[in-house]
């Protein structure tokens, strides 16, 4: 079986995607090719491709729009319906969409949000979350080719070894806007909004009690030199902005410090914070599930603790 990773040059996170996919694919044994779709004709320097056997850098004509169809176009140039190949894309929003589109074009199976890949006697085994992250379900492909999108862990390890050979290829077809689209524009997210990049995060859960308590959590976040994030109910109830939401269905974060205030630790939320280097959980229920993912647990009213922390810090900023 051949393994082909397909990555599109996009945000600043692309280097991490390249490393993370190499790391995820490694347990399958053998080596993987990388199809790297460049953003535009005159894109600059290439990233570090260590971890792959060979790289095909696909150059488009002009500048590519943010359309997953072009991602699938590039993959389709190299992944054929009669080949024994597993195509692996990063499980970003566009990556998963491109995976589904590619599988549709190849008429083959597709699995999204795969967490781990491994080799077995039956062939590759791909596992992904199910039941809102409470369980894991494993699958085997019934035939090849097959396509999957793999969750990109933040801060993946840098692979060792030599940089592989890079072959430059021209994207076969020029982009044509789909006929169903009247007009479209992407409104970019402001850089400072991204909680994924924050080194310290304070998460407000529904246990904070009300919207009125959010400013105190914000103040605590600032005092700890952290960004404020929130669980889904806190966002859905409009207490904080959607860009602050963490969890399986929003941002997956891995900060150095994550302080979770008044969140139950439901699996769908835990998936978003469990990679934190040091996780402090504050909950007034000693049996709350959040303590199972915490390094340090504090059984306490989260608002009383926030108040006490602010008093203790007395305007001093840490970090």
């Amino acid at each position: 079986m051949k393994i082909v990773a397909v990555i599109r040059e996009s945000s600043a996170q692309v280097q991490n995607q390249i490393y993370a996919l190499a790391e995820s694919i490694r347990p399958l044994g053998g080596s993987a090719q990388l199809i790297y779709l460049r953003k535009c004709e005159d894109a600059g320097e290439l990233p570090d491709f260590r971890g792959y056997e060979k790289v095909l850098a696909v150059r488009p004509k002009g500048t590519l729009p943010e359309d997953p169809e072009v991602w699938a176009d590039a993959a389709e140039m190299f992944v054929k319906p009669d080949e024994e190949v597993l195509a692996v894309l990063p499980a970003t929003m566009e990556g998963s969409e491109a995976a589904a589109l590619l599988a549709g074009r190849l008429g083959c199976g597709c699995l999204l949000n795969v967490k781990t890949l491994r080799q077995s006697e039956e062939g590759p085994v791909l596992s992904r979350p199910a039941y809102s992250n409470n369980l894991t379900v494993s699958f085997v492909p019934e035939s090849l080719p097959a396509v999957c999108s793999v969750t990109v862990q933040p801060a993946a390890e840098v692979p060792e070894g030599e940089a592989p050979a890079v072959e430059e290829v021209q994207l076969a077809e020029a982009y044509e806007e789909p006929s169903w689209l009247e007009d479209a524009e992407i409104i970019p997210r402001a850089e400072e909004e991204g909680i994924t990049a924050a080194k310290r995060v304070v998460v407000a859960g529904r246990g904070v009690g009300s919207r009125e308590k959010i400013p105190q959590m914000q103040e605590l976040a600032e005092a700890l030199d952290a960004r404020l994030a929130a669980t889904r109910p806190v966002v859905y109830d409009g207490w904080v902005d959607k860009s602050c939401m963490v969890g399986a269905s929003s941002a997956i974060i891995a900060p150095e410090l994550c302080v979770v205030m008044g969140a139950s630790g439901a699996a769908a939320f835990a998936a978003g914070v469990e990679k934190s280097k040091y996780l402090v959980a504050v909950n007034n229920d000693p049996s709350a599930a959040v303590f199972r993912i915490a390094d340090l647990g504090i059984v306490e009213d989260c608002n009383a603790l926030a108040e006490a922390l602010l008093r203790e810090l007395g305007g001093e900023k840490v970090g």
Partner: protein, 259 residues
């Protein structure tokens, strides 16, 4: 405009007993004792469809919202509210087979129901199976585009204006129908609740029940369902008061070189 909402009635996963998670397997996993609820993303799709219906009618255009679900349970309690808040017709497709790991079979059944409609609204995934593929497979079968991770949809010149979450920000697109819209973290996540008067007004309304045999080519076969074991060990910080614990926390953070 004719809109159909595909929805699923799921189990409340937050009240599943710990033991059932621990012992889960493909052969034996029964959580039917928990409460039923509307799949969260489908609930958002339903509310978005109703808001669109309101807006279209307010501007003098015709609009109908129908809904379709697959399942063998008794969902009358949900139907009562859905009819009362403005859903016109509901189809419940019964099948003998378990479709949890068969998104293509689900898409096949939904495609038949969705064919006559201008717009298909649905959630981006089902909280239980979580395959996230059904909207794409359905769109593929219908030969229509699929907009995923939709936040909101409103009427606009030339089509429907959809706002979708993208890796780099928000996609604002005007889309000609027919199309499939799969809702993610929507701006309107909760379905409106009907008043008593609204419920009384649709008292006699019933869903239409259909029997179907699913067909689909899945490509992947589920071979194991299990709970991953956790390895983290949590140390509890003791203290008599919030002040004492706050001091303890700051000391620990300093020791860990985090403060």
């Amino acid at each position: 405009m004719r809109i159909i909402v595909c929805f699923k009635v799921t189990q409340d996963l937050e009240s599943v007993m710990k033991r059932d998670w621990e012992q889960a397997s493909l052969e034996a996993f029964d959580i039917s004792y928990t409460q039923k609820e509307l799949n969260c993303y489908d609930e958002a799709a339903l509310e978005a469809a109703l808001r669109l219906q309101d807006a279209l009618r307010a501007s003098g255009e015709e609009a109908v919202v129908d809904a379709v679900t697959i399942g063998n349970g008794n969902y009358d309690i949900f139907y009562k509210n859905m009819f009362a808040v403005g859903v016109n017709q509901i189809f419940q497709i019964h099948t003998e087979e378990d479709l949890t790991w068969r998104p293509d079979a689900v898409a096949g059944l939904l495609a038949e129901a969705a064919q006559p409609y201008d717009a298909v609204f649905m959630g981006c995934k089902n909280a239980m199976g979580e395959n996230g593929l059904t909207p794409y497979l359905l769109a593929g079968r219908l030969g229509r585009p699929c907009l995923n991770q939709v936040i909101s949809v409103r009427c606009a010149e030339g089509g429907l204006r959809a706002v979708c979450e993208r890796d780099a920000g928000e996609l604002h697109a005007t889309v000609r129908q027919p199309a499939v819209y799969a809702f993610g973290n929507s701006d309107t996540p909760y379905l409106r609740v009907a008043t008593l008067r609204e419920k009384l007004a649709v008292k006699g309304k019933k869903a239409e029940h259909l029997e179907r045999s699913p067909e689909g080519k899945e490509g992947f076969r589920a071979c194991r369902l299990f709970q991953e074991s956790l390895v983290k060990e949590c140390t509890f910080l003791e203290g008599e008061s919030a002040e004492e614990k706050a001091r303890g926390l700051l000391d620990t953070l300093r020791k860990e070189k985090l403060a």
